[in-house]
Amino acid sequence: MNKQEMKDKAFDIRCSIIKSIANCGSGHLGGAMSIVELLTYLYYEEMNIDPKNPTKKDRDKFVCSKGHAGPALYSVLADLEYFPIEWLNTLNMGGTRLPSHCDMNKTPGIDFTTGSLGQGISAAVGLALAQKLNKFNSYTYVLIGDGESQEGQVWEAAETANQWELDNLIAFTDFNKQQLDGYVKDILNLNKLKERWESFGWFVQQIDGHDFNQIEGAIRNAKETKGMPSMIILDTIKSKGYIPGENILENHHIKLSISDGEKAIEELKRREGRI
C-alpha cells in the first residue's frame, strides 16, 4: 500500500469503528480511535500474517494490552476477512463473538485475551520469548495505554524483556495523554516516559502516532536494533476522527446513537476533504 492508500484504509476503519459502536449504543470509542494508524500499518503492511490461517505457528503476533480498544481491532480483522463483516453488528451484545475486550477464545485473529490492564504486555513477553525458543523469525507487537502504564506489572515486564534481550518484541504506548478519570498528568503523571523506558534498557523512539511515514521509519529502526526490546511512544489524540470526542475531558466511554455516528462520519469526511 502507498501512503494514500493507507490513509484511505484508516478512514474506512474509523468509519467502521464508529458504526459498530454506534450500533451498540456506547463503547470505548476514545481509545479505539487513537490507534487506527498503528493498526492499519501493522495489519496491512508490516505483520507476517495470513487471515486464512489465523493460527499459523510462526506468524507475527499482536497483543492489544489495552483490551478495551478491541472494537478498533475487530474492524481491521473483519476487513481482512478473519470473520464475516456482519459480526460487527453484534459488537458487545449478548452471545457475541466480539466482546468489548479482546478475547482469543471468541474471536479469530486475536492473539491474546486482555481486559485487565497491565497483563497484556507480560503475555507479549511470553509470546516473544516463545518465538525465540522456537527459533521463529517472527515478531511480537504489543500496544499499551498511557494510563495502563501506571500498573506496576508493566515495569516488571519491561525488566524481563530487557534481561532476555527480546529484540523481537516491539511495543507501542498509545500516548494520548488521557485515561478514564481524566488527563494523565492530573492523575499520575508519566514523568519522563521516554527516559524511563530507556533506563529499563529498551530502545525507545517517540513519534507522531498518526503519521504513517513515522510509524514505518520507527518500526524499521526497531527491527534493525539488536539485543534489546523496542518501545515506540506514539503521540496520539484520544478519539481522533470521532470529532465530537476530540479534545474533551470525558471521551473514554462514549454514548452515541446511530444518527450521531452518521453525523460524525459526515463531519470526518468533510475534515479530510472526502466530499
Binding site: 452471545g95 466482546p99 478475547d103 490492564l117 501506571q150 478514564l180 470525558e250
Partner: protein
Amino acid sequence: MEIAMRDAWGNALVEKGKTHPELVVLDADVSGSTKSILFQKEFPSRFFNCGVAEANMVGTAAGLASAGFRPVVNAFAIFLALKGTDQIRNAIAYNNLPVIIAGAYGGLSDSYDGASHQSIADIAIMRAIPNLKVIVPSDSNQAEQALEYALKQESPVYIRLNRNPMPEIEKSEEFIKEKAIKMIDGNDITIISNGITASFALEASKELEEKGYSVELINSPFVKPLDEETILKSIRKTKKVITIEEHNIIGGFSSAVSESIVKNNVCCKFKAIGVEDTFTQTGDYKELLSFYGISKENIVNQALKILN
C-alpha cells in the same frame, strides 16, 4: 425509588466525610464509575486518585490506616479483590488495619465489559482472609448502612457493591448488628438471599405463597461473620434451603451457609443458586442474570423441585 448503589455509595462517602475528618478516599482511575468522584468534589484534599495501580493503592491505604486515618479504597471489585489480594491479606488484614475495601461493579453488574470485568470470585477470596469482614449489600440503604457499620469497626471490611439501580427492600436495623434479616416467616422452605438477589427472592417467595407454600425468607448481607443463629434456626424448622447469590457457587455465600450447616450437623435439602462455575459473558445485565439462573423464575423452579 430505585437509586443506583454506586450513587448511594458516593453520597454516603460525602455524608460521612462531613463527620469523620479522618476519612480519606482512594480510587484507581475509576472514580467516575465508583462515584468516589462525589467525595473528591467535596473534599479534594482528602481524595487520592492512585491511577490504574490497584495493588499500590491498597498498600498505600494500609499505611494511611496504620497512621490513624480511615481510608476507603474504591475500584472495580475484581481488580481490587484480585489484583490487591496480597496487599489486602498481608498489609491490611494481617495487621488488622481498619481499611474499608469497596469493590464496585460486583458480580455481573459491569455487564457490558464482559468476563474480564465481572467479579464472581471476590467473595470466595475475601472470605478466606482472617480478620476481614465481608458484606454484600442488597440495595442502596444497605450500602449506606454498610459504610456506617464499617466505620465503627476496628478491623478491615470488604464491601461488595453493585453498579445498577435495583429494587429496594425494606430497611432493617438488624443488619448493622451483624444479623441476617428475616423478611417473611414461614414453615415449608427457607430462602436466603445475598446481595441484589434479595428482590428476586422476595418476588419468588410471593409466587410460592400464591401456590400455597409457606416460605421463610431471609436476607443476609453478611457473608462473614455469618448469622448462623438465625439461619440455622430457620433451616432446622423447614429442613429445606435455597441460597442465592451473584457469585460463583464455589466459595461464596452458599459455601458459607453450607459449611455452617455441615459443621452444626443440621440435616436438610440444599440448593445453591449462583453462577455455576463458568466464566460469564457480555450483555444486558438483567438478561445475563437470568441466563445464569439468578432470577425469580429459577428460584421458584428450584424451590418447587425441593418442595416436591
